[in-house]
């Protein structure tokens, strides 16, 4: 279909295609420094909160309370309340850990990698994607900790001088994980906060209530928009982006080492690092869409988060989806090509064994539905369809981790030790609880912090163009 056929007849702002490029506009027409600032800061500085916010926060908070209850019972009784046992010793906790941290990766990709590639369109979705990263890491980081059985001894993971004279084993991927995830959480929070400082300055200057003035004044650190400050700030942002890029790739690589370094068929494979990273970005973009689509609708941000963003995210999902698809194909190929009896059996069992249904859910959700439909620009810019796809891919990526963890474990080398895995209500309670915690944290973010970076949007506006004196005079 030619691009011109897609230009809507009534080209209302934000819905249109730029005739100069044939692409959807990154920002709607007619935006100024003032309108953008008022729009974004107005969401935070209003005294009225939408009723829907309270409703959703109630749901999120209730589920987070379920999490609290489930964790309390877990700490009282132990991990025996979960379905983990032999041979499946890694269950929901590790599945959810990998799933959540993968979701977080898209936020870093958007904030860091797309900044380095000078993808200006990222500015609109950058901030809440980063917030998503942090809340996803909060949920993810909890799982290894509660999975160790005695979380109050979690500090044993860190190298510190102790009276037992014991030090951690630095050759273990599980310890690498500790450093990878803690660094990732720290750098993400710092990058996110530094990005918000100038916007806090704007909020401080625009706030009416004394409490808001005081609070935003404090966290804005006295930002006053000095040019010298801005230049150092830009350098620091660029450096943080340059550091976060190898970091995000290393984090999921290290997580894949947790599996790949084991000698288990289905885990012991060199394709895991790239395949895990691509899968992380695939599910992360799906989660950005899941959050962005309702947000732009509820807060009327169609001029700032346009069809262009939805379209571009669809393209990224298509690309990373195919990398993941290559990973699935390679796993099957290697099972055959290795000529290893155990590898071949694992693959057959994964597809057609008693838990084979999970493999086909994964194939349907990650390959069959998205990778056939995302080619069409019409579908990529259809908002309901993209919301549907985002849910499908999130489901598919959860099942990918389920397949990797459970179907590799439940039938190992000796048939006498075969078992099965059936999650208990406590497994589900913890998982659903983290979904609630994530929702509640994200809603607090939307209510109290600027969810779109105002200073970055201002840079993209036509008014930001510097015109030489002669041109300015000629225009007068």
């Amino acid at each position: 279909m030619a691009t011109k056929d897609l230009i809507p007849k009534d080209s209302k702002p934000g819905a249109g295609i730029d005739p100069a490029t044939g692409e959807y506009r990154v920002l709607g027409l007619g935006q100024t420094f003032k309108s953008v600032t008022e729009k974004i800061s107005g969401i935070v500085l209003t005294p009225t909160t939408p009723l829907g916010w309270f409703a959703l926060f109630g749901v999120g908070g209730a589920l987070a309370t379920v999490l609290l209850g489930a964790l309390t019972w877990l700490f009282l009784v132990g991990v025996g309340i979960w379905a983990i046992s032999q041979p499946v010793a890694w269950g929901f906790a590790i599945i959810n850990f990998v799933w959540w941290i993968g979701i977080g990766h898209a936020g870093t990709l958007i904030s860091a990698i797309l900044l380095l590639f000078k993808q200006g369109w990222r500015n609109s979705i950058n901030r809440f994607a980063e917030a998503m990263t942090i809340f996803a890491v909060v949920c993810a980081g909890m799982f290894p900790l509660i999975h160790v059985g005695r979380p109050w001894l979690g500090y044993w993971l860190f190298p510190y001088p102790n009276s037992m004279n014991v030090w951690p084993q630095f050759r273990s991927p599980l310890l690498w994980d500790v450093f990878a995830v803690s660094t990732y959480a720290t750098i993400s929070v710092v990058f996110w906060y530094i990005g918000m400082v100038p916007d806090f300055g704007t909020l401080r200057d625009r706030a009416k209530s004394p409490l808001a003035k005081y609070a935003y004044g404090l966290i804005s650190l006295g930002w006053r928009g000095s040019t010298r400050h801005w230049m150092r700030y830009e350098t620091a942002s660029l450096l943080l982006a340059g550091l976060a890029t190898p970091l995000v790739l290393s984090v999921h690589t290290v997580i894949s080492f947790d599996f790949a370094v084991a000698v288990l068929p289905g885990w012991h494979t060199t394709i895991f690092p790239p395949y895990f990273v691509a899968g992380a970005i695939y599910s992360g973009f799906a989660m950005v869409l899941t959050l962005a689509i309702p947000l732009r609708k509820v807060y009327h941000l169609e001029n700032l988060v346009t069809e262009r963003h939805i379209d571009n995210m669809g393209k990224v999902m298509l690309a990373t989806g195919f990398i993941v698809c290559y990973g699935y194909g390679m796993e099957v190929f290697m099972a055959w090509y290795s000529a290893s009896h155990w590898e071949a059996f694992m693959m057959w069992n994964r597809m057609f064994g008693p838990m084979g249904w999970s493999y086909w859910v994964l194939i349907t959700c990650n390959l069959a539905i998205p990778l056939t439909t995302l080619w069409s620009r019409k579908l990529r810019t259809s908002i309901p369809f993209m919301f549907f796809i985002s849910i499908v891919v999130n489901t598919g990526m959860w099942f990918e981790r389920f397949v990797i963890v459970v179907t590799s474990l439940y039938r190992d080398f000796l048939p006498s030790s075969w078992g099965t895995y059936r999650a208990t209500r406590w497994d589900y309670a913890v998982y659903v609880g983290t979904l609630g915690l994530f929702t509640a944290l994200f809603l607090l973010f939307v209510r109290f912090l600027p969810m779109i970076p105002m200073n970055e949007i201002r840079m993209m506006l036509p008014g930001a163009k510097i015109t030489p004196k002669k041109a300015a005079e000629a225009a007068d």
Binding site: G222, S226, T227, T235, L243
Partner: protein
């Protein structure tokens, strides 16, 4: 530090970034050095105009990163070779390839923290008070849609009346005096 008194400088307000950049270029050309632009988003041309080309953030980041690398790698070596040697099938104690991963993570951690906190320190932040916040129009627009040029009283060329006239030749929206 003794409390400063009197005039901090004169603040000219402009409506567009182009006006600000032209005014800053002119002031720099006319010999002004103690001056600063205030913009709601980074304007690189304004930094060029006031002669601010380089900053120390990259150097601080590099030093921080190298320190992180050295700290983690030497700790891993010390723990694995000297403090708590584990004989696992006779494999070498100094197994440096395995040490790369945490050392790599700490390089990034320290470099990132150095970049962020180094930037804040060089900027003199947090600084919750600044004389500019006394200017009546500064907080209305400096971080929304207005562009300011401040000629500071510390510059030897500064004279309240003359400088005010000088700034007015640049056709600003307004010129106000900023007090400490």
């Amino acid at each position: 530090m003794p409390a400063r008194e009197g005039t901090y400088g004169l603040l000219a307000e402009f409506d567009t970034p182009s006006d600000l950049v032209r005014a800053a270029q002119k002031a720099r050309h006319d010999g002004w050095r103690r001056m600063e632009c205030y913009t709601p988003y980074p304007v690189e041309e304004a930094a060029e105009a006031i002669g601010f080309h380089r900053n120390k953030v990259p150097l601080i980041t590099l030093i921080g990163g190298l320190m992180g690398l050295a700290a983690m790698f030497s700790m891993e070596t010390w723990v694995s070779v000297l403090a708590y040697p584990l004989n696992i099938g006779g494999r070498p104690l100094y197994s440096w390839p395995a040490f790369i991963v945490p050392a790599y993570e700490w390089t990034i951690l320290w470099a990132g923290l150095s970049a962020a906190f180094g930037m804040l320190a060089l900027n003199g932040l947090p600084a919750l008070y600044h004389p500019l916040f006394n200017a009546p129009n500064f907080r209305d627009g400096a971080l929304t849609d207005k562009f300011f040029l401040c000629l500071e009283a510390l510059d030897p060329k500064f004279d309240l009346a003359e400088t005010r006239e000088y700034l007015k030749t640049m056709e600003p929206a307004s010129v106000v005096e900023v007090e400490y």
